[in-house]
Every structure is written in C-alpha cells, then in structure tokens.
Amino acid sequence: MKLNGAQILVKCLQSEGVEYIFGYPGGAVLHIYDALDACKEINHVLVRHEQGAVHAADGYARVSGKCGVALVTSGPGLTNAVTGIATAHMDSIPMVVISGQVSSAVIGNDAFQEVDSVGITRSCVKHNFLVTDIGDLATVIKKAFHIATTGRPGPVLIDISKDTTIDDIEFGGYPKTINMRSYQPEIKIESSQIDKAIALIIQAKKPIIYSGGGSVIGNADVELIALTRDTGFPITQTLMGLGAYPATDKQSLGMLGMHGTYEANMAMHDADCIIAVGARFDDRITGNLDLFCPYAKIIHIDIDPSSVGKTVGVDVAIIGQVTDALNALSTGLKGKKLADISAWWRQINEWRAVDSMAYQTKAGVIKPQSVIEALYEVTKGEAIVTSDVGQHQMWAAQYYPFDKPRRWINSGGLGTMGFGLPAAMGAKLAEPNSDVACVTGEGSIQMMLQELSTMLQYDTPVKIINLNNGYLGMVRQWQEFFYDKRYSMSYMDALPDFVKLAESYGHIGIKVEKEADLMPALKEAFAQKDRTVFLDILTDPTENVFPMIPSGAGHHEMLLAGRDEMASTNDKGLNLV
C-alpha cells in the first residue's frame, strides 16, 4: 500500500509504541497533523508553546522511563523547542523531537519559517537527522529511537522536509532491528577493572558511595541498594540521583554538593575510597577541584567514557551499564572480608549531629522549608515532585526525602526555569494515579504559565506549590553574599494575582499568607483529586539556602544556617558562578 511520508511517520511511531506526542502544529507539519488525526492509538497533547512540549515530553520520559516524543513545526517552532532539547540533553533524557522543515527545493533559500534546525541543535542533541528522501524515513526513525534510548540516553532530532511528508511510496514496514557500525552502545564490563575496584573497596576504612543521575536513568536502584546494604557503606546522592537509594534509610547521608548536607560533604572530603555510580563530578558537586576529595581513591562507574577523567582523575574506571557494574561488584565482593568501618560511622554520626538542615522559624512568616516538610507530610512522601530552578528547587531536594527513583523531576544540568509546570503535566500523564506536585517560585512559574491552559484541556491535575517570596531568590541570595547586597534586578515587582490567574485558566487558586493556613490549604489542594490547584504561598523573603559550600571553596568549608549567615567567595568562586 502506498503511504505518504506523514502516514509512514505515524505508522512508525505506532510501531515504537508511542502513547503521547506533545506538540504544536504549523505549516511544515500540516501533513503530519493530518496523518495524526486519522490515528487513534497516539494521543497528541496540544501545548501552548513549543518549549512546553519538549519539557512535557521530558517529564513524561523521566517518570515513565520511556522515550518522550515532541513534534514542532519549522523555524520558530524549532527554535522555541531548543531550550527544552538542551535541558533533556544535559540530563541524558531519552527523547525524539520531530521538527518540520521547509520543502527540500527551498532549503537554503531563507524560505518562510526556515532555520537550519540540524545546525542549531547540533550541540545540544545526542544526534540529529535531516530527512529529505522518503525512502530514508522509516530507517531514520528507527535509528533515532535506538540512539535516544540506548547507551547514555539523550534527545535525537528528526528534521523532516515538507515534501518528504507529501511524497508517497510503497511502505515496506518499520524495521525490526537496526545495526549501526558507528554506534555500538553495548559495552561489556571489564573484569580486570572490577578486580581493581574490589581490591580498593575491601581495604577502605573511610568509604562512601556517591550516586548520581545514572542510577536513576539506568534503573539501577535495586542493584544500588543491594551493594550499599551488603557493604554497609554510607551513601550520598546528587541532585539528579535522589530517590535511587531511599533517602530515609540510615545509610543515606542525603545530598552532597553546594547545598548538600554537612555529613555528606565532610564524608566526601575525608573519604579514602569513593565509589562514584553514574555521576559525573560536575562543578556543583566538586566545588573547588583543587580541594576535592584529597585523600580518596576513586572508582568511577559510568556508561559514558567521556565522563570519566573529565574533571577529576580516577583510579579505577568501570565503563558500562550501571546495573551490570553494580552486579559485578556485588558478586565480586561475596565472601570477601571488608575493613572495619565502625570508626568511620562514628565520625559520620558526629557530623550528622551538627544537624545542618536545621532552620530557624520566625513568628508571623512562613518558612519555605516548612512548606516542603508539610508537602511531604500531606503526600506521605509518595508524590512525584517536579521543580523549577532556584531556591525552591534546593529546598524541595533538601526537605522532601525521596525513597523511590523517578519521583524527583528537575532540570539539574541546564537549570532551566520554566521546566517544572510542563514537566508536571508530562509526569501526570505518565502516572495518572500518582499525586504530582510542582514546586516553583513566582519567577520560574511565569516562564511557562501558558501551559495551565493545556493542563485544563487534557485534564492533568497537578498541585502547584508556588513559594512566593517576591524575589528571584537564588539571585538575591548571591547578591546578598557576594555583591554587597546590591539587589540588581532580582525583585519581581508587579506580580499577578496568582489566585485569579489560576481561576481564569479554569483551575483553583488558593493564597496562603499565614502559617496556620498552610496545612489546611495543602490538604484541601490534594483532596481536589481532579483539579489543578495553584497554591500561592507567601514565604519569608529573606530566607537563604543553607548549608552552602560557597563557590570556590572545598567540601570541608561549608557554611551552616544560623552559624554562618554571611558567605564569602574568592575570584575563582565568582568565575565558577
């Protein structure tokens, strides 16, 4: 049977098992939308801005573990999507983005709504394709899904010229398998590296497991828990890794890095052996590289060889799937006697006793930390929590202990404000029976507000927890510490009435001004199972995120709330951002 390119695309997406496409139509994709209209198996979610489409596909992918799919038109459709694509790329999220392109006859002519989509996205995708020949279409789609979902996952863009969607061809079916000589994502763990790692592990007197986003993306929670329990080692997790190991477990030291716990950072600093699991030693984790983990032998497990030795030299590199590597370590450690680490735990417990997450309450103001704690209580710790970017993101990560993976959804790598709301929509579609909360601030939420409209249309009830302190809080905090309190452009004057705004979008809005109203409002919001509720919570405008490693400092130079109110930095720190 002859099919046109648009029909072939839709058939291929069906064969891939795609449930949801998040997209926005336009001239170059009209044929594709026409073909989608005839397809009952794929649900299309019409967003209000292409960035929202990609973030929603991203949230869907992070929660479900499946490949997210977004569809945008050429030109501005694609450029609007770029922030979303870069966000997914930095966090290694499996995603296929399909963009329309002008007809091949006019590519390069500065045609209406033409941009060089492949060129623009090249540095923020795992791979991209331009399809101008219908004969290539099915193979390219197969390759795109294969590349996006294997190895270290990432977004893949397929740019399809309009004539390709119009041309027709005898469709031979969707390829069942694909083999690419230049892309072999299956990596076998080298047993010699496992042996070397085990030799280090059994000698370690001050070991720590440092687990990152790879443990979540690589579905390695079971293996991670097994290794941690078997060894009895302390474990700390990155912002991207939260939930792979249960945060409420006694071996968990919480998050590490710039706003991590005192015990996690001190343990990293003093450790003699670090097992890095799917983590990439980024600057928010390491702080000043010259002062990073001065005494430790480092074992680094990662699927991506380029992550190893990029910022920090390692002693043993284990390249491969995190699950395979952890299993190999667990197997290799069977019957081996580990060094006594009871003194290490005593030291860690002393650091724990510092209680670095303590914060001071103040009569008459709502502390943002207490909002997150109340959210945890109301949702019994079981909600999917998405966040935007800034102080609220840190508080959510610090005060909502995640016990399961794929519950904490945030833009850790790119730090994209506006991510939280569309991601929450995607998350709700992936798991309709879970409560979804979007922790945000009055700055971030205004970057993707328009998706409130989409959420009404597609009935994706989420609870928006807006920590409204009237400031771009993280900017204000840095200006307070490092720029002599010159609050340049960090005050958001002329805020909308968020309650009325939510109502005008057909949702429920609740304003919370008094601490006594907080719990009842949260309970009311989550009782409204079928409605999106916007909680506009006025929080302490002067609160800062603690503890903190000031940029440029080492892990052992943490600042604690109530004890070190003012942080300082050095030139190196200011350069680090």
Binding site: V118, R122, S123, H127, S182, S306, K310
Partner: protein
C-alpha cells in the same frame, strides 16, 4: 603537545560540522584538518592536528568517539605512524635568483608544476617541518601565495 588524530566517519552531509562543532564547543584547538572519502565511498577519513596535554587529548578522543557518525578514532601520535603534508607555493622568480631557487627546490625534492612569467608554482610534500623549512629557506618577499593541505597520516601497523 601536538597530536595527530585520525578519524573514520560516515560520509554523510553534516559529519564534518559535527566534528568541527565539537572542537569549537568544547574549546579544543584545531591546528589543521583534512577530510576526503576513502576507497569505501560510505566512509570519510579525517585527520586533525590538535595541541593539548594528555588529559585534553584523551577527552578529544572520547568526545569524538561519542559522535554517532564517527566509526573509529586513532591517536596517530601515540603509535608508529607516517605523516605527510602537501603544499603548493607560488614563488616570484627573477633571472638573477632562478638558479638559487631551482637548487632549493631540488634539495627539498619539490616539483615545479607550473611555470608562468616570473612565477613558479611548486609542489612540496613531506612532514610539516620539511615544508616549514623550505618556506624558511626562501626570501619572504618572493613568496606570492601558499596553500597547504594540513597533515594526513596513517598508522604503520597493518591494522589498528
């Protein structure tokens, strides 16, 4: 230190810009870059000369390997290899200097590929240093135009 990196990649449109884009995006240095199809028309061979310490070269090799279109990456400098570069140079030749220039060209096994009024076009192939030396041996004011290919190379072992 200077490294010669040899890459086999899919002969597809955009493959070159993926490689050059990687270098600029990550702040790696490119001293020269040559590319052409191989005997297998679906594959191109690209040779890049880059300068960096061992850690940077290691990252370059790893990042190149990550590119989906790249099939193999070899750091030729780390192994026994042969490297060559070709230059076409236009030289102003006067009757008074001709004998001297002819001798230089002979010494460097150069080939005069074109002679026009008062001008030689000379082809010199060899290691880059040899080409540098040849240019240095000429009176600068006599050099009219230089076009160099950049380095290409192969590993001496039968397979790598």
């Amino acid at each position: 230190m200077k490294h010669i990196i040899s890459i086999q990649l899919e002969n597809e449109s955009g493959a070159l810009s993926r490689v050059s884009g990687l270098f600029s995006a990550r702040g790696f240095n490119i001293e020269s870059l040559t590319v052409a199809p191989t005997n297998d028309a679906t594959l191109s061979r690209m040779t890049i000369v880059s300068i960096g310490d061992e850690d940077i070269i290691e990252q370059i090799v790893k990042q190149l390997n990550k590119l989906i279109d790249v099939v193999t990456v070899t750091n030729l400098t780390a192994t026994e290899h042969i490297e060559r570069e070709l230059m076409l140079v236009k030289i102003n030749v006067e009757p008074s200097t001709q004998a001297d220039i002819d001798q230089h060209i002979d010494e460097y096994a150069g080939k005069i590929v074109d002679v026009s009024e008062n001008t030689y076009t000379v082809e010199i192939a060899g290691k880059s240093q040899r080409i540098d030396d040849f240019l240095a041996s000429l009176d600068v004011s006599k050099i009219l135009e230089v076009s160099r290919t950049g380095v290409t190379g192969v590993c001496q072992k039968r397979e790598y």
